[in-house]
């Protein structure tokens, strides 16, 4: 026997994570690390210990995400190239966005975000087209457009970050500070979570439903930008000048994005159960339930994290980790709602249409916590006012 039994068994053993990493994976890690090292060398002197820790965390997270989900690398490289190109075109002059061709029509933050908006809307149409016509090609186009839209969205935010510093160094801040910016963030994050599941489950049928939520966000974003001039970069109020914002807000939007995704899968589930037309085209209800559960679990985990981060921040900014401020209270209600959803599924084994309906209703509760509180209730958390 050339092969020993131990060797045979070894081949069945699921290799440990580190063993699966290839040379390309390590190259990726080196690339991320050197990018981050360059930033550190250049700006390390003006960063405090928290910002450095956050950057270290982001570096590790980006390298790890690229290992676990390969397309993130291509995305990152495209985003980095476009962003660096935009920064190069800017030089140090904000006014270049009016004169430079590339900035004016593609890469200045507002132009990039317009591209993102247009691409998401087109992708929505394409996904539905692919679903109705059962056209695989159209589906691929839709996926490509969603990736492109996401790229442009991230480029838009990153360039906007730089633009804020070009206005004046003391105005500069991470672009997650007002409703306009977080709507872009919401669209990007929801799309990324969707794209992950699309790759994982090899199904494009859910795209239209999920992108519908993103398109609605885009519609709001455009209305908000055009009627209220919301795209203008405003300096931060003192309460927001904290490193906590960099982690609290994105964590929250992973939660919101996942909940929105789960709700749209809930819609798809209900339609599939009701109409043969969808039942013939959509993936099995079993799969839909599984994605819905995973999405809510992901959202719940990050929403918990975000709320806790928010409490830690509040302890530093408002004089207490919990003030029963309307935003906090509604965050608690959202949390309780999904905690109950998960309990019912995990301990009582609830499934099927009721859980799908609940996920859809959950979106409205979430929406109220996200937008309604800012619109109708007043409190400490009034940064995102309309």
């Amino acid at each position: 026997m050339a092969v020993t039994r131990e060797e045979m068994l070894d081949s069945y053993r699921r290799p440990s994570f580190w063993q699966t990493l290839t040379a390309v994976d390590w190259l990726w890690a080196v690339l991320v690390l050197s990018g981050s090292g360059y930033v550190f060398m250049r700006y390390g002197a003006v960063m405090d210990v928290y910002e450095i820790s956050i950057m270290a965390g982001v570096t590790a997270a980006l390298a790890g995400t690229g290992w676990l989900w390969k397309p993130v690398r291509t995305l990152s490289v495209c985003v980095a190239t476009l962003t660096l190109f935009a920064l190069w075109r800017y030089g140090g002059t904000l006014a270049n966005q009016e004169t430079d061709f590339f900035l004016k029509y593609m890469l200045a933050s507002q132009s990039a975000i317009m591209w993102m908006s247009a691409l998401y809307v087109m992708a929505t149409v394409a996904y539905f087209g692919a679903l109705f016509a059962r056209s695989e090609f159209t589906g691929k186009v839709a996926t490509a457009m969603t990736w492109s839209a996401t790229t442009m969205g991230i480029v838009g935010l990153l360039v906007r970050w730089r633009e804020s510093y070009l206005i004046s160094p003391d105005v500069g801040h991470v672009p997650v500070s007002n409703l306009y910016e977080v709507f872009v963030l919401f669209s990007i994050i929801t799309a990324l979570i969707y794209l992950f599941y699309e790759g994982r489950y090899r199904t494009r049928e859910l795209g239209g439903f999920v992108l519908l939520v993103i398109s609605s966000a885009v519609a709001f974003l455009l209305w908000y930008a055009f009627t209220r001039n919301a795209a203008e970069i405003q300096p931060l109020v003192p309460a927001l000048q904290s490193y906590w914002m960099k982690i609290h807000v994105p964590a929250n939007f992973i939660g919101y994005g996942s909940f929105a995704l789960a709700a749209m899968i809930g819609v798809a589930f209900l339609l599939t159960g009701k109409f043969a037309f969808f039942a013939q085209r959509m993936p099995s209800q079993d799969l839909l339930e599984d994605v819905m559960y995973k999405s809510i679990a992901l959202g719940f985990a990050f929403f918990t994290l975000a709320t806790i981060l928010g409490a830690l921040w509040a302890a530093e900014a408002w004089g207490g980790y919990w003030s029963w401020d309307p935003k906090e209270t509604w965050a608690l209600i959202v949390w309780l709602n999904y905690a109950a959803w998960l309990h019912m599924r995990l301990t009582r084994g609830w499934n099927g249409a009721p859980m799908a309906w609940w996920a859809v209703i959950g979106l409205f509760v979430t929406l109220f916590a996200f937008l309604g509180v800012n619109m109708f209730l007043s409190g400490l958390h009034s940064y995102g006012e309309l």
Binding site: S168, V171, P238, A301, I308, W324, I333
Partner: protein, 668 residues
């Protein structure tokens, strides 16, 4: 959370009944829903407003009803805290009952599994092979281990069980999350200061509702220095210090003495170049009798000072009694001597005026007034209007009019004005009086002009001169006519100074027949214009302005603006305009001072919660059992398993396992 009907059949003791009650899932759900609804009420109904607001909103009856339900401070209401307490008990019971089971379950391989229950699994597979069971197990165990399982086996009389499990710490997720809820709630209840609330509820502590200096607050409204948890606030002017904090509770407050005093050295507001505030900072000096030297610290929003467990936050700011040098310019009389007065914010000054006794109440001073200015094309921009101060003039009847006067001229479309806002009630927006700035940058020329317009003798003289020029040749020498004309011209001016252009219009409406009103008004306005212009020209001449080239555009504009302003003086409501000559800015910083010993507990809970949630969702627990026995002279092996919370993924893994085992067993 629920448990099976394990104890149902047994006769129960009181303890058992209580355990059953508190541990029931239905109770937990009911409580959670109640907390949810109460929380929503608390967000919809604005909390901790002054009681007067609620009374005017709901009327006296519903005000009382809602008050007795504690709806104005839901989150401190006794019933709300009681529900939270029961929730803690319920969750604790749940943990008490389930945690041991789960810990046991984590360790246990459940070797006593039955054939039938194995056969009921969705994921199962049976092989029949010509091999000894030992050989089979020899092949099986390493494969299961290679798949990441921990494996145990046990032989029975007629069969052999191999049990495998992985991801058991998923179970810890349950214990972590549920303990976290209990720990966070306990920490929160500690910081929520139940004892204090109970004392306030039972009457041991009396909430002070009067607006009196802290030193006069009676002992029964003061808390002990060592009070372990509270959240209060205090305003301290620059250069002053305080060793207390106020705790707002229901419709009043309590006084919390501190073991140290906070001395505010300086308070600063920095602004962005575009206007909005960039930072609020206070320089503090903490004088602690137990410390050798005072502790120096600068706090800012997001950067509190933690001193001996007391956290001191920058929460707000206000005026701390700025000193103001004021000049009162009489508006109504012909006696134009301004009066200088020194005052300070929060001070009241009494005056005898032509409108009777008035009290000047200085309310506020603001150094920066960054106001939005709408600009064409670019939208909203911010501009600093400079310092202003606000005050009320209260008459004998207690009626007050509120004013807001800017110190520096404000540029409006190329012309400059001193702005003075007036409003009768706080609900209205300010209406502004635009006093034009004279070429020297002062207010003097306007005041002189205004005084002259109140000086009847001068008006008569000017009127006579003007009338003399304007009579027709046939009436020259007709003294009566000239007198009458002079008098009516003067009356027109007095009417204007008292009531403005509206007064003139009213007069015309009242006296002239409808058909002629337009022409009469036109004539009146012409005469008035001539009169005012003559008076103005006299003033310019008296002030030495060279009029040989006619009146300059600037002086012309001044005239237009001045008569607009004088026309509005009648409605201004004050006998004088108060000019701010100079000031000494004294600010007061609003500090929030809190002590939260439960914080450590809460943060521990947070950590457990995060760990628990990720354990629960991202560690997949699965179990496999293999049943091996003799059947029909062959060795039968049945493998069944379950992935408790991830059936789909487990299905895929099971399929892979089947493939590997097929290959392994083929060699028999």
């Amino acid at each position: 959370m629920t448990t099976d009907a394990v104890n149902k059949k047994r006769p129960q003791k009181t303890g058992g009944v209580l355990l059953e009650f508190f541990g029931s899932m239905n109770l937990a759900i009911t409580l959670l829903v109640t907390v949810g609804i109460a929380s929503i009420v608390g967000t919809v109904l604005k909390q901790n407003e002054p009681y007067q607001n609620y009374i005017s909103k709901f009327g006296p009856f519903w005000f009382e009803v809602f008050n007795s339900l504690g709806l104005y401070d839901v989150y401190s209401a006794v019933w709300f805290l009681l529900i939270l307490t029961i929730l803690v008990l319920s969750t604790s019971t749940c943990i008490y009952r389930n945690a041991p089971l789960m810990l046991h379950d984590m360790r246990s391989y459940r070797l006593g599994v039955r054939f039938n229950s194995l056969n009921a699994f969705h994921c199962r597979r049976e092989w029949r092979l010509q091999a000894s069971s030992d050989a089979l197990v020899g092949r099986l165990m390493p494969v299961l281990e290679a798949f990441g399982y921990r494996v145990r086996s046990k032989g029975y009389e007629d069969h052999l069980v191999v049990a495998a499990k992985k991801g058991a710490i998923n179970r810890l997720g349950y214990i972590f999350t549920h303990s976290a809820i209990v720990i966070i709630c306990i920490g929160g209840l500690v910081d929520g200061n139940l004892l204090l609330k109970w004392k306030a509820f039972s009457g041991d502590i009396k909430i002070e509702t009067r607006d009196i200096p802290a030193s006069q607050v009676p002992q029964e409204s003061r808390l002990p220095v060592g009070n372990p948890s509270f959240r209060g606030s205090v305003n301290i002017p620059e250069g002053s210090s305080a060793n207390i904090a106020f705790l707002n509770l229901r419709d009043g407050y309590l006084v919390q003495p501190l073991p140290f005093s906070v001395d505010v050295q300086d308070f600063r507001v920095e602004h962005y170049s575009s206007g909005p505030p960039e930072s609020f900072e206070s320089d503090l000096l903490i004088h602690d009798p137990q410390a050798a030297a005072p502790v120096e610290a600068t706090i800012a929003v997001n950067h509190p000072l933690i001193y001996k467990g007391y956290a001191i936050y920058q929460a707000s700011f206000s005026d701390g009694g700025s000193k103001l040098d004021l000049r009162l310019w009489p508006l109504l009389g012909s006696d134009a001597v301004p009066e200088d007065v020194n005052g300070a914010v929060f001070e009241d000054i009494d005056f005898e005026t032509s409108m009777g006794p008035l009290t000047l109440e200085l309310i506020n001073f603001r150094l920066f007034n960054i106001n939005p200015v709408m600009q064409e094309g670019t939208g909203k921009k911010f501009r600093n209007f400079g310092p202003n101060f606000s005050f009320k003039l209260r008459n004998e009847l207690g009626e007050a009019i509120e004013y807001e006067n800017y110190m520096l001229p404000v540029d409006m479309e190329g012309r400059q004005y001193f702005l003075s806002g007036v409003r009768r009630t706080p609900a209205e927006p300010f209406q502004y009086l635009y006093i034009p700035v004279d070429p020297d940058g002062g207010i003097e020329r306007f005041m002189q002009f205004n005084t002259r317009l109140h000086d009847l003798e001068r008006i008569m003289a000017t009127a006579r001169g003007t009338a003399g020029q304007s009579v027709s040749p046939t009436q020259i020498g007709n003294e009566t006519f000239v007198d009458e004309l002079t008098e009516s011209m003067a009356r027109l001016v007095t009417l204007f100074t008292a009531k403005g252009f509206d007064g003139v219009v009213e007069q015309v409406d009242a006296s002239a027949p409808e058909a002629e009103r337009a022409s009469v008004l036109d004539a009146y306005l012409k005469v008035l214009q001539t009169m005012l212009a003559s008076l103005y020209t006299e003033l310019l001449a008296d002030n030495g302005v060279d009029l040989s080239q006619g009146i300059s555009e600037r002086d012309g504009n001044f005239f237009d603006d001045a008569i607009n302003a004088i026309g509005a003086v009648g409605n201004y409501g004050a006998p004088f305009y108060i000019q701010l000559k100079s000031f000494e800015h004294i600010q007061s910083t609003g500090l929030q001072i809190a002590r939260a010993p439960g914080k450590t507990l809460v943060y521990l809970g947070f950590t457990l919660l995060i760990a628990g949630v990720f354990c629960m969702f991202y560690v997949s627990a699965s179990r496999l059992w293999c049943w091996i026995d003799e059947d029909d002279g062959q060795t039968r092996i049945l493998i069944g398993g379950t992935g408790m919370r991830h059936k789909r993924d487990f299905g895929k893994e099971f399929a892979r396992l089947e493939g590997v085992l097929d290959e392994q067993f083929r060699k028999f």
